[in-house]
């Protein structure tokens, strides 16, 4: 049976289909194997083909002229080009069609080079036959091609940055310096994220702390008139799509306004205490507090979760800066692009894992960093249980590499370097301390190998394990038992301090982020990039970019670079007034769509939504700015109601049936 028998709906753009077929020699690439002349003669006989020609290089200027003239002379309304794959020259030939007055989308390219001459060079006859088959199929498809119009949308030249950590700040600063308006929305009452609390970052040369970096960026960002900062704020709604988002932001009450001079009187009278999350749980804070010294904004804040609203602070505040009746506010922002710099959470070991929570002598690396920080709770003095620890044991891969039932499978990338850095700080500060690094692999990649070598040089003791070590907490005594795999000995290390080198995890609110911004997550739970290797700072959703540890563990420097990279992507978008999108997108036939929602579930770009019609029934709607033309919905749609332009069933099915037409 022939393809005509398949019912094809929708009329062709003109009454009579007139197809031109152009077969390229591509020098010898095609003509060296395929008998081009034979293919052309074959094509001439196909139904609807009014002209078939060959040329040595169709892509060259004379080749293009030939097509242009033919289109006019033969009144062609479809063009088939049998040459190379569409990757390189489809745009070339689309331009040719356009210049000749045709819609550029009535072009069909058939790759007889990659698909036939290159792969079947040993058998020229069969290659020629295959080329004929391919041309016949292309003609069958071309018959039903439709003209399409490009779509465009306006771009609002502003960016939203979600997260005021180091990556978000880097993105914001770059975009602002590039001249774009930037809105930073930070959930916490202060900027700086984890980086601000990371302590010293190097062991020699000019000392640099995480705080220094944050301070530098905050100062620059704050002084830039293009930047608007919202702390203690959360994005609650995201509407629109690439180039044109409307964001609703909830501004949570801080209860303390900018009259606050950080005098601290309120803290003295506040009766409520809670563990200090800004010190990773070391020590306590009050319900009214300053998250950390020198934070921005340098202003006290009341944590409504713990505050009893007793009003004592209001009474003592000399500036009258406290207002317990402050209410939540809501603002909307109109932005073109969004950068998610939503960061990570440190892995929190459950109580009992490696003795965590059973003894003050077992702490996490984050807590150690706070203890060793000049601005930390002990002003940089390492004191545990009132004593200076002598034997300090780091246990690495806590919460990573599946070392415990609770742990993640992935490697957190930074922990080896970070803990060796702290080990060196300890050695520098307390040369008599004995530091053990109990590890699996030492993954100090790249230039960080230097840290590993330094640690060996400073007699940090490396203990390698295959089986997770055991930490036993006795009466005031902590022991680490480990099977040293490289000497095959069972070691017992009496420890004055055990430091659990905890990895990074996706933040707890990742699920909300995911549904709010319609971005995906990978198997590790972190936000998923458009392509792991080549699009590492873009999400699958157009106009939304990812920076810092939102996509996975990174060092501070890497986060800053990723921040700049995400900014570059946003800048590419924002530097345009309008964005044009290919019309090869999914379209919904509302007459057929029953609103079953299968397409919504499967769209990887969040481009489809269900819309309620006036009669109460639902239909799918595709946002063409978000649709990337992957075709997944078309394959899944049970009613053939959603189809992709240029790849509709009526175009593909005849092409498939043409296979059997011989």
């Amino acid at each position: 049976m022939s393809s005509e028998e398949v019912k094809v709906e929708g009329a062709c753009p003109t009454d009579e289909v007139r197809i031109g077929v152009y077969v390229c020699h591509c020098g010898l690439n095609i003509a060296g194997v395929i008998n081009v002349k034979e293919v052309v003669e074959y094509a001439q006989k196909l139904p609807n083909v009014v002209s078939a020609k060959e040329y040595i290089f169709m892509c060259s200027a004379p080749g293009q002229d030939l097509i242009r003239e033919d289109i006019k002379k033969c009144k062609l309304n479809r063009v088939v080009i049998a040459a190379c794959g569409p990757e390189m020259h489809e745009p070339t030939f689309r331009a040719v069609l356009e210049e000749a007055g045709l819609n550029p989308y009535v072009l069909e390219m058939v790759s007889i080079r990659e698909g036939s001459s290159w792969v079947h060079y040993e058998d020229p006859e069969a290659a020629t036959e295959k080329a004929k088959d391919m041309v016949r199929m292309a003609v069958a498809r071309a018959r039903n091609l439709e003209p399409l119009e490009k779509m465009s949308g306006e771009v609002k030249q502003r960016a939203l940055i979600v997260g005021g950590g180091i990556a978000g700040l880097a993105s914001a600063l770059d975009l602002a310096e590039r001249g774009f308006e930037v809105h930073i929305v930070e959930k916490k009452p202060v900027l700086g994220g984890h980086a601000a609390r990371m302590g010293q970052l190097n062991v020699e040369g000019r000392k640099v702390s995480g705080k220094d970096l944050v301070d530098y960026l905050v100062k620059k960002v704050k002084d830039n008139p293009n930047v608007h900062i919202y702390t203690n704020a959360e994005v609650t709604k995201v509407d629109g799509s690439i180039g044109n988002f409307t964001i609703t932001v909830k501004l949570k009450p801080r209860y303390v306004n900018d009259k606050c001079t950080s005098c601290g009187k309120c803290v003295e009278v506040c009766p409520v205490t809670a563990p200090n999350e800004y010190e990773y749980g070391i020590g306590e804070r009050k319900a009214i507090f300053l998250p950390f010294e020198g934070a921005y904004p340098n202003q006290y804040v009341i944590d409504p979760e713990t505050c009893t609203f007793c009003g004592k602070c209001v009474e003592v505040c000399p500036e009258g800066a406290i207002n317990l009746d402050e209410k939540e506010k809501e603002i909307t922002l109109e932005v073109g692009g969004i950068i998610l710099a939503t960061g990570h959470d440190p892995y929190e070991p459950p109580v009992g894992e490696y003795g965590y929570g059973l003894s003050p002598k077992v702490i996490t690396l984050h807590q150690l960093k706070r203890l060793l920080s000049e601005d930390g709770p002990t002003k940089g003095e390492l004191v545990i249980d009132g004593k200076r620890p002598r034997n300090i044991v780091f246990i690495s891969c806590v919460g990573s590499l599946g070392t415990t039932p609770n742990a993640n499978q992935y490697c957190s990338r930074m922990c080896c370097s970070a803990s060796l850095l702290e080990a060196l700080h300890i050695k520098e500060k307390y040369p008599d301390a004995q530091v053990f690094f109990v590890h699996k692999d030492v993954r100090t990649y790249g230039k960080d190998e230097n840290l590993y070598w330094k640690a060996i040089d400073n007699l940090v003791k490396f203990v390698r394990f295959e089986e997770s070590p055991k930490v036993t907490v006795g009466k005031g005594e902590v022991k680490v038992e480990v099977e040293e795999s490289t000497i095959q000995e069972r070691l017992v290390i009496p420890a004055d301090l055990v430091v659990l080198v905890t990895g990074m995890e996706p933040p707890k609110e990742i699920e909300e982020l995911r549904s709010l911004f319609k971005v995906g997550c990978g198997g590790d739970g972190f936000l998923k990039e458009a392509h792991l290797k080549l699009n590492p700072v873009e999400s699958l959703t157009g106009g939304i970019y990812l920076a810092g540890t939102a996509t996975g563990p990174k060092s501070i420097a890497e986060s800053i670079v990723a921040g700049s990279a995400a900014a570059a992507k946003a800048a590419s978008l924002l530097s345009k007034d309008t964005i044009e999108v290919e019309p090869i997108v999914a379209v919904v036939d509302e007459d057929k769509c029953s609103g079953c929602g299968i397409c919504v579930s499967i769209c990887p770009y969040g481009a489809i939504s269900l819309e309620k019609k006036e009669d109460g029934t639902r239909v799918s709607k595709v946002d063409p700015m978000l649709c990337q033309g992957c075709g997944t919905c078309g394959a899944a749609c049970p009613s053939a109601a959603i189809q992709q332009n240029s790849y509709k069933d009526k175009q593909i099915i005849p092409q498939i049936l043409a296979v059997f037409e011989r």
């Binding site: 049976m1 007459d591 057929k592 079953c596 929602g597 299968i598 899944a636 049970p638 009613s639 053939a640």
Partner: protein, 324 residues
Amino acid sequence: MSKPKVALYWCASCGGCEEATVDLTERLFDLVEAVDIVFWPIAMDFKREDLEKMEDGSIDIAIINGGIRFEEHEEMVKLLRRKSKIVIAYGSCAHLGGIPGLANAYPREEILKFAYEEAPTVINQDRVRPMKKTTVDGMEFELPDFLEYLKPLDEVIDVDYYIPGCPPTPDLTWEAVSKLLSGEIPPKGHVFGSDKSLCHECPLNETKPDEIKLEELKRPHQVVLDRSKCYLTQGVLCMGPVTRGGCEALCIKGGMPCTGCFGPLEGVYNQGAKALSFLASVIDIEDEEKYREMLEKLGFDPIGWFFRYSLAKGMIYRKKGDGE
């Protein structure tokens, strides 16, 4: 003006479609009033000769149910085609092959062997099988031969309209017939029923979330269905999304998920494949091993689930159906 002449005939079917005609109940009288039934072997005594005697094109509407499995079917429908102006494929079997079409999963020889030799209820030591020509007591009998495959009606003759369903609902039948009688002639090839999938008219469609993610599949007998919630979201295969509406979701209302008897929508070339594809799209299991385990637990039967009515009607399959 004389009343329109109507013929009814059945091929390979269970007879349910004929029952469905009777289910028109009192409307049957209106029908009989309105038309002149000239051929209906199951209800009245008509013979082939009677039909042959009629003039070509003298019947206005021929309503045929059942698929084509015997030579006899083939001959009769060809005859009916010649005599009729309009041919309607009535019911799933005529439309898509239906339940008898499931036999196409086996070759003819295997079917006969099972039916006449191996089925547990059969006692046939001599392995006698029906023959095309048999001599009994010196008399020669001729039987219509059993064809290689079952074919839907439109693979044997040209069909003008389809009334889908297993069986078609009386309302739909009435709607179709009255439409034709009133002269409201739809384009050739029209399938009566809705242009949208069953979900559109399903009372539970409202309850479906925007995104469907299934972590497990179940068969209806393995679960107590919540009748106020979309069955699909409860992990039960409902063919609703991939099936033409028009039945008013009778099964759904009766507490059973749709099995797909109304066939695919316009533009869907293969109902079963599409069903498989959409279901695969909403299953949210990453682990391959877990997937396999689930299918095993389920007693996975893709033909029975997805191709229950449409196995005989595959796009690629049709080519093979000719015995090529």
